[in-house]
Symmetry: D2
Subunit: 154 residues, 4 copies
């Protein structure tokens, strides 16, 4: 079941071309990732500041920009994580218009909306001491279990 | 009646000291300003991109930082505008913790909360052709009327 | 001949994990792109604000993060554009440490340095009226000609 | 003797009004502060991440915006610090056009240029354990001594 994050585009996110600056699209996606972790009970302040000597940095990101976003636009970022291995996962994001303004939260039905952008981030869990790979913590496995796409015949 | 804007602090707003980067506090305040304009029916995309040959740039800003803000903190930005003359107004912002999570919207009672920061922005209406002062449009006068502090005996 | 852009990492680009926020890496790359355009005599203010009814938006971006960047680090962004067709081009970026501090400008020899990150942006020229593809302007063809990798037996 | 920091305005610093977003002006000023600390031999990575259990957070900031800044504009941020007491100092910034492109460094003569903006930041030295005021370290006293305005008869 994908996680959906509602957001209004703000003035500081636009640039002199009148639309959202391209790199800010990835920031919008990361906000959705933060919201999904918080919704799963993960304390984000500690999670993102290396609590427990662990970090889960992004090692790869990509984005496709399909339509311009303007100040005041209401968007949904629909997020689906997928475990890649014992140490890593990937998050897929689809940004769509949210004219009919649903709230942040779990998205019960996936009504097809026109995508404004899609993006992906790939994350690897490491120890901060030696920067070597280590297994994903149970909190992230729980988050993955709750949100990940179930492949195959459900 | 002040306007209240609820917001979660996001990771990209923090810096290597572990707290919100000072200038981002003003960005949080400006988001509250944008939300208050939208709530008053002003179409922010046009308003901020010079529609009608008019702009209302910020000519002065100041902020006092009273306590650090961390990733995941839930804050309220409580906003009160005040007209300064035919061409200008000022907006006062108070940032406070929103542990008990009220929604964005009008703040019915002003319960005293510990301020985390206060800020002010001063805005002047100009014509974009000649960059000379011009009277505030009726949409802003309405917004001021709805939100401004009533001075004197109620 | 690739274009090289020298830059000091600033505090506001870091996050509470103590390193550059991932999406800001793409902003560093875009700065190098802007500097290379300016070095080729393109007036960037007009270029990026739709002068002549033309825009060259980014339709795709990707980045690989190979090592953390810290406040105060001096980096080089080495940029190589490549034309993809009559309407589009791609820019490849390699971010490396610049301990021995060369200046911004053309990079005479390409000494192998350890890459801290690599990234790509893909750009398509469009008309702003109809948002349809149109040929790259001569100024960009000149920039591509000066900086593009010459394929084949050099 | 004031410190001067040269900088090109970048696209991501502008907003849909076509000029630098107001809060980014304070970021430009902070970059000049960082450059002045580095020029005085202070290791900024440690300084800004709480090395030695000490921090020097900004407790107040203000800015006056006198003229719009556009993508591609070359500016100078001229910085002058002033000690306020044993625990605190203030930095004054003047942003001016740098058409005739001097390099970053100490500004030998202070030729009067039209100011585009002015700003101030106030900093207080604290211990990170107890967040109580503590004396400025010798490195900052040296920086203040080298750059501070000498008051009184020359």
């Amino acid at each position: 079941m994908p996680f959906s994050y509602r957001r209004v585009i703000r003035f500081h996110e636009t640039d002199a071309a009148g639309v959202v600056y391209f790199a800010n699209l990835l920031t919008l996606c990361h906000e959705a990732y933060e919201a999904s972790l918080a919704a799963a009970g993960i304390e984000v302040k500690g999670f993102f500041s290396g609590q427990g000597g662990m970090a889960v940095p992004i090692v790869h990101a990509s984005a496709d920009f399909l339509a311009p976003l303007h100040c005041g636009d209401v968007i949904l970022v629909v997020l689906t994580p997928r475990q890649l291995g014992p140490h890593s996962f990937e998050v897929a994001y689809r940004v769509e218009a949210a004219a009919s303004a649903p709230a942040t939260g779990l998205l019960p039905s996936s009504e097809p909306e026109r995508s404004l952008a899609v993006a992906t981030t790939r994350h690897v869990c490491i120890g901060l001491e030696n920067r070597r790979r280590q297994p994903l913590p149970s909190s992230l496995l729980d988050w993955l279990g709750a949100l990940a796409v179930v492949e195959g015949g459900g």
